[in-house]
Symmetry: C2
Subunit: 118 residues, 2 copies
DNA sequence: GCAAGGAGTTACCCGATGGTGAGTACCCCG
DNA sequence: CGGGGTACTCACCATCGGGTAACTCCTTGC
C-alpha cells in the first residue's frame, strides 16, 4: 500500500514531507486535480487520464481513501454497481495547499519553457 | 538526474505535479527545510540529516541547483575548498508553498497520531 | 608518514512503484 | 448470443530512486 497511516517520527522534523508522501505518486495529484471539479466514477477517471492502468488507479484511489482525503460511495443504479469518488471533508482542507502547489508550478512551467533561469 | 529541466506537457494538465516533481524525493524537502535556517555546507547537511549518504545528498543538491531552487557558492578558505548551499532568489519564492505543505502536514500528523479519521 | 576532514565520485545492489495483459463478475442492449 | 460497459483483481516485469562501500583528490595537523 502507498498510504501512510501514521507518519513515521523521522518525518516530523520536516512536516512538509508528511504532506508530500500523501500526494506523491505519478497520478495522485492528477486524480485529485480532476476530482476538484466534482466527483467521478472509476471509469470517468480512467478516461480522464489516458495512460493510467486500472491497477494503478485502484491502488492510488485506495491510498487516497485510506488516508482520508477521498470518500468512496457505492450505489446501485438499476442493478449496476457505480462507485463514486469525491473529496472528503478532510480532503477539502488540502485544496488550498494543492492550489498553492499548482500556481507555483504553473509559474515555474512558464519560466522554464522559455529560457533556463534568467 | 532527478531534475525536471522542462516540465513535460503531460504535467501541465496538473500544475501541482510540476512543483511536486521538484520537491519529492526522500530528502529534498528535508534539505530545503534545513536550508531555510540559512546556508550550509555539504558536511553540515550530512551531519544535520543522519542516514543520508554522500551520493544521495550530492544527487539531491545537484537536482535542486539544476532546478534553480538552490545556489552553490564555492570559496577557498585558506586553501581548503568550501561549498555553500543556500536558497536562490527564485528558491525563496517556494518557501510559502513549503510552509503551506508543512503546516498542513503538521496538522495531519497530529490528527493521525490519535484516532484514525474522527 | 599518516590520520582526519572537506567534497565528492564510482560501481554495484535492492525494493518499491508503476506498467502489461489477462481474467473475474455482473448487467444491459440489439 | 455477442459486444460493451462498470469495477476491479492477479501474476508477472521493468525501471528507477535510494542505499552501501570503496575510492579519489586536496590540505592541515600530530
Amino acid at each position: 500500500m502507498v498510504s501512510t497511516p501514521v507518519p513515521d517520527p523521522k518525518m516530523l522534523d520536516c512536516p512538509a514531507l508528511v504532506t508530500i508522501q500523501l500526494v506523491s505518486g505519478k497520478w495522485k495529484t492528477r486524480v485529485l486535480w480532476h476530482l476538484r471539479q466534482g466527483g467521478a466514477g472509476f471509469g470517468d477517471l480512467r478516461r480522464a487520464m489516458p495512460g493510467i492502468s486500472a491497477k494503478v488507479l485502484t491502488e492510488h484511489l485506495d491510498a487516497l481513501v485510506a488516508d482520508g482525503l477521498l470518500a468512496r460511495t457505492e450505489s446501485l443504479e438499476g442493478k449496476v454497481l457505480h462507485t463514486r469518488y469525491r473529496f472528503s471533508d478532510y480532503g477539502f482542507t488540502l485544496i488550498p495547499v494543492l492550489d498553492a502547489l499548482g500556481s507555483w508550478g504553473l509559474n515555474h512551467a512558464e519560466r522554464a519553457a522559455g529560457h533556463r533561469f534568467p
